[in-house]
């Protein structure tokens, strides 16, 4: 476990050693604010809740989380440090987990820095803080799901742009799996059971459930499964094409 910890610390520190972390956090916070107040009509709604804020998380994550994830493995390949990393006594799952957790912690830091919106809504009214906490948990889980997908895809290539674009497309598919845009691809030929299966994969549905303030075990299991599956796939991809 200390190996995972060492990797985690190195990785998290590296975000803040370069402008990446600061640029990301500033853009994230500015966009969150702009979406909440202008598109979401935070004031106009006249309600003491954060729906206007959380409604835009899936869409912001769709572009911002792949931007964190794209460098995870592609950069190691590009700079050749993957050879250093994988010849240290580190097993693939330790490497995947250490790097993933650091990226997730970084996303969590960015998310926590949105706390002024929570202060604002508490100053203006009397919101259901339990529901807000649940929505924060849901948002973090969704970011974790996107990150796991991005980490896995990043392991395929040394090109960060390719990793980014493909991750956005795959995440978009997961986000809208319950909607006709995706379902129509299957409805013509797939049996209803498969159709229901695909529909149940939707990030958006699960996130919306949680952000209403109800943390259902099924939603938690869903995100845990997505994260676990993609991280497992990530270790397999590494094993396959470690040296390419």
């Amino acid at each position: 476990m200390s190996v995972v910890k060492a990797l985690f610390r190195r990785e998290l520190r590296s975000y803040f050693a370069t402008p990446v972390a600061y640029v990301f956090i500033v853009i994230f916070l500015v966009l969150m604010g702009a979406f909440t107040f202008y598109l979401g009509g935070f004031y106009e709604r006249g309600q003491a809740d954060l729906r206007a804020f959380f409604n835009f998380h899936p869409w912001l994550y769709l572009f911002l989380v792949p931007a964190i994830a794209m460098r995870l493995w592609a950069e190691e390949r590009k700079s050749g440090t993957i050879e250093l990393l994988m010849t240290l006594p580190i097993s693939p799952w330790q490497a995947v987990l250490g790097k993933y957790l650091a990226a997730w912690a970084f996303a969590a830091i960015a998310l926590l820095l949105t706390f002024p919106i929570w202060l604002t809504v508490n100053y203006l009214g009397d919101p259901d803080n339990g529901a807000i906490l649940a929505a924060y948990v849901g948002s973090l889980l969704m970011a974790g799901g996107f990150l796991a997908i991005g980490s896995c895809i990043s392991a395929f290539t040394k090109n960060q742009v390719i990793a980014f674009v493909i991750t956005v497309v795959v995440c978009f598919g997961f986000l809208l799996a319950g909607f006709s845009l995706v379902l129509d691809l299957f409805s013509a030929w797939a049996p209803q059971a498969l159709l229901d299966g695909v529909a149940s994969l939707s990030f958006l549905t699960h996130f919306n459930d949680i952000s209403k303030g109800v943390i259902d075990l099924r939603d938690l299991v869903y995100f845990a499964l997505v994260i676990g599956t993609f991280l497992y796939a990530n270790t397999i991809v590494l094993g396959w094409k470690q040296a390419d």
Partner: protein
């Protein structure tokens, strides 16, 4: 200590390393010689567990690199070609990270860090990020990383490539000073390096071992000159007539 048994690697139909066999022990400095693309780096990547062999295997201190990869990796210090390291870190942070991963702790950790920093003269650049360092310092950071845990087996892929003559001299001194108790494998295409530090040389081309002998004996094959031997065995045929040395 290092046993290589039928090690082979092919990518599709292209064979890069073809059925290598050799063994060596502590106290030896084995020079891996060969033209570019001969399979030197690929062999080293297989010995260190980075590339999976297509056939055959190798064992390091009794640990098979395929089935006991982590145990073998614990006994190896490895400098990959080009000495890759994390550009945004400082040498101090980088070496501390390696120490953590290698499981060094407490007084031993401090002592090992101090020793490698001293040995490779890294003191003046410890707080500077690695991407701002000169090539010579980057290489030394890579070497420091490789010897940090005082490994039994040291595998160095072109350790002096791109260094100036003084730096080359220093790296060779370092290799010589560690050669008594360790097994050191270096790859190079600099022939004088082989004569300077190696106790044994293996010349490979097209993934095969062509000769395996002491540098002195090899030089005799070329009438006293290692470069003539090298050309003769890697190009095939008779040695070219001795040219006057420049």
């Amino acid at each position: 200590m290092l046993e290589v048994d039928g090690l082979s690697k092919n990518y599709g139909r292209h064979t890069v390393v073809n059925d290598l066999h050799f063994r060596c022990d502590a106290g030896e400095v084995l020079g891996f010689l060969g033209p570019n693309g001969a399979g030197k780096s690929t062999t080293m990547k297989m010995l260190t567990g980075f590339v999976a062999p297509s056939a055959g295997t190798a064992s390091v201190c009794g640990h098979d690199v395929r089935s006991e990869t982590l145990a073998a990796q614990r006994r190896i210090g490895y400098l990959p070609e080009g000495a890759p390291s994390y550009a945004e870190m400082t040498p101090a942070q980088f070496l501390e990270f390696i120490a953590d991963v290698r499981g060094l702790s407490g007084a031993e950790r401090r002592a090992r860090l101090d020793e490698v920093i001293d040995r490779l003269h890294l003191e003046p650049v410890l707080g500077q990020s690695i991407d701002t360092l000169s090539k010579g310092f980057k290489r030394r950071v890579g070497l420091a990383q490789a010897i940090l845990h005082d490994p039994d087996v040291l595998i160095l892929d072109e350790p002096t490539d791109g260094l100036d003559p003084n730096q080359k001299h220093e790296v060779r001194e370092l290799i010589r000073s560690m050669s008594a108790e360790k097994l050191i494998v270096i790859s190079t295409h600099i022939l004088e390096e082989v004569e300077a530090v190696c106790s044994r040389a293996i010349i490979i081309a097209d993934g095969r071992i062509l000769v395996d002998d002491s540098p002195a004996n090899l030089a005799q094959l070329g009438g006293g000159r290692l470069d003539l031997t090298f050309r003769r065995v890697t190009l095939g045929g008779e040695p070219p007539a001795a040219e006057p040395t420049a």
